[in-house]
Symmetry: C2
Subunit: 371 residues, 2 copies
DNA sequence: GTGAAAGCGCTAACAA
DNA sequence: TTGTTAGCGCTTTCAC
């Protein structure tokens, strides 16, 4: 089991002795080496104050030569700003939080802001502990993400005045600020695309109705149908579970029903979509010729491996993360936001609804006017 | 697109005015409120020094009542330890890094150590920037994760003496310390399980041979066969791609070949496994009766949705993360480690190799003696 | 144009 | 048993 482990004797060297090792350089060391005062070094490094160009350069050079790296902790202590934000995830760093984090990090890294990451997994006690820890570290802002976009109790900051954004999470507190995907718009766009393809009997297989996303997407689906003069058929709406298994089962139900087989199916996520595709294929139904299928999430491992590849609605999670980063920076600067902001979804066309093979990842962004 | 956005006027209040808002409490405030000196407060809060029990309690109470939270930055500045570690991921926070992070966080959170997270995505420039930033924040240690367990250039810390662990990543530097899954042992265990089930013609469909993991698993597979007196059949070894598509294709190749159809297939990952299962089912082969199938990764969305559910080798990534956390803590305390340590894999039994339906997630840990 | 010194919030050695 | 004080490394006025 253990293969190349090589534990060496514990390093018992005392602090004093350790200092002989590459000791942390301070601004004093640079000052001494450059033959100037620490004030001058600070001014040169921060490009502040008034300094002769030559001194400035000389100090910079010396600092570089020495490999000096200022201690952010001391800086933060003095400035009262840590250039650090917290991220509390209730998703076990899962599939939805990750793309968000990626976007968030990209934006914050530009501003030299680092992210402290914690996982609370819907446990309020751990959440509180993490929050305490983050506050102790003097974070400048906080992002909270959740498993799905449903309402959560929301972090209670008490009297603490800290910029806070919920991403892919929604708080009950009306003063809270939340960033969410536009579930309704996404479903509406996908449905309209199917209608534009000439489909009229469009079914909707989706997850449990307890999810707000399910309700919103169902709304979008109905709105799109009605906008085209199509009256939704009750039995075409099949809420259930977020699984492939349910996708298959629901298709079998639709096949067994005495009503006409749908000529298109909008699925609540890609797993359902994939199950639906499998069931259709195994029932001898041609996709997309007889039935077109659209998924939701645009999850690469699902949409590309299904047969045929699955057209899907993308919630643009990295973009949502970027947006969160941009807002957070503005909030840190003093602006205030509240309410809910929803980010447009995009539709990625693949063969399951008839996109030509070669353009299997075509990209459609429809202009949905603001409601 | 924008639905409930409610931007309010930017908060232009000056710092002074803001102070009227819940100002950050300092140890001085507590001292004043409790009617003692700051030294006493510090001793009470840190449970250090000698203090009368009653004073200690009184101070604690006052601090709690006031909602005092010490400033970790100041603490860290003084102690020269930040209780903070960095995590640089080259995986875009992907499927492998996340479970690792979960375990890591769990262990470090116990010690009140927070994690700074950065994503470098195999870009050495970004990696360098992130490293600089982390060093500036005075991290006590660093964890680096990579896309897969192949050799990477490795972070160059230069003369800096900082505890560093590579997880799911391997550096070329011989002094480096890496934590990896025991790919070879995992494949060996899975193969032995198939042999124990009475299978003799065991194929191995896997990813690109350029991956060290592919080579190691292939070794493990061969060793297991030979240990049971079975000579590996060259054509049963099918390296290719990490995709479902390749899994299907490889099975069709095996079916078309003139040699006997394998009675078991060890797959390099769950996607391949899933493709194999689909191809077998669609060719009318019964799984597990005619062919047993085992995957690798034990990725829930794959193993549970496939038909039948897929037996799979679990790399115990969260455990790997925990191990990383434990080692890192020891390294921060002064111990030194180098070389490679591999963590045992476990086999999760499901129907694809004949586990009874009800025990679809049975758990087998074989005792593989250390080589 | 540059240096000196106060102080960010905390800890720990030393005084009382 | 408690209080006082000197810094941790940095920024930023204010003198020079």
């Amino acid at each position: 089991m253990v293969k190349g482990e090589t534990p060496k004797r514990p390093n018992q060297a005392k602090a004093k002795i350790r200092r002989s090792a590459p000791a942390r350089l301070t601004i004093h060391d640079v000052a001494r080496a450059a033959g100037v005062s620490i004030g001058t070094v600070s001014k040169a490094l921060n490009k502040s104050g008034t300094l002769k160009q030559s001194t400035r350069e000389h100090v910079m050079e010396t600092a570089n030569k020495l490999g000096f790296r200022p201690n952010d902790l001391a800086q933060a202590l003095h400035r009262g700003k840590s250039f650090t934000v917290g991220l509390i995830s209730n998703d076990s760093f899962g599939r939805f939080t990750m793309p968000i984090m990626e976007g968030l990090e990209a934006v914050l890294a530009e501003q030299k802001i680092a992210i402290f990451m914690c996982n609370a997994t819907d446990d309020p006690v751990r959440e509180k502990q993490h929050l305490d820890q983050l506050l102790g570290k003097q974070i400048d802002g906080l992002v909270v993400t959740a498993r799905r976009s449903d309402h959560i109790p929301g972090i209670d900051l008490g009297a603490i005045d800290l910029p806070l954004i919920n991403v892919f999470a929604q708080s009950r507190d009306p003063r809270a600020f939340s960033l969410l995907p536009d579930d309704e718009g996404g479903a509406r766009m996908a449905t309209k695309h199917l209608i534009a393809l000439g489909r009229r009997r469009i079914a909707h297989i989706t997850g449990p109705e307890s999810f707000e996303a399910v309700q919103l997407r169902h709304n979008g689906y109905q709105v799109a149908l009605r906008e085209s003069g199509i009256e939704p058929v009750g039995d075409y709406y099949q809420p259930g579970a977020w699984s492939e298994c349910w996708g298959r089962e629901a298709v079998y139900k639709l096949l067994a029903a005495k009503m006409a087989l749908p000529d298109a199916i909008l699925c609540g996520n890609d797993q359902i979509g994939r199950g639906a595709l499998d069931a259709l294929r195994e029932s001898g139904k041609l996709v997309p010729d007889e039935v077109a299928v659209v998924g939701f999430d645009n999850w690469d491992v699902m949409v590309n491996s299904s047969r045929p590849p699955l057209t899907s609605v993308d919630m643009n999670l990295p973009e949502l993360g970027k947006l969160a980063g941009k807002y957070l920076i503005r909030m840190i600067r003093g602006e205030t936001f509240s309410g809910v902001r929803r980010l447009e979804c995009t539709l990625h066309l693949r063969e399951s609804c008839g996109a030509a093979k070669q353009s299997s990842d075509a990209f459609v962004r429809e202009n949905l006017e603001t409601k």
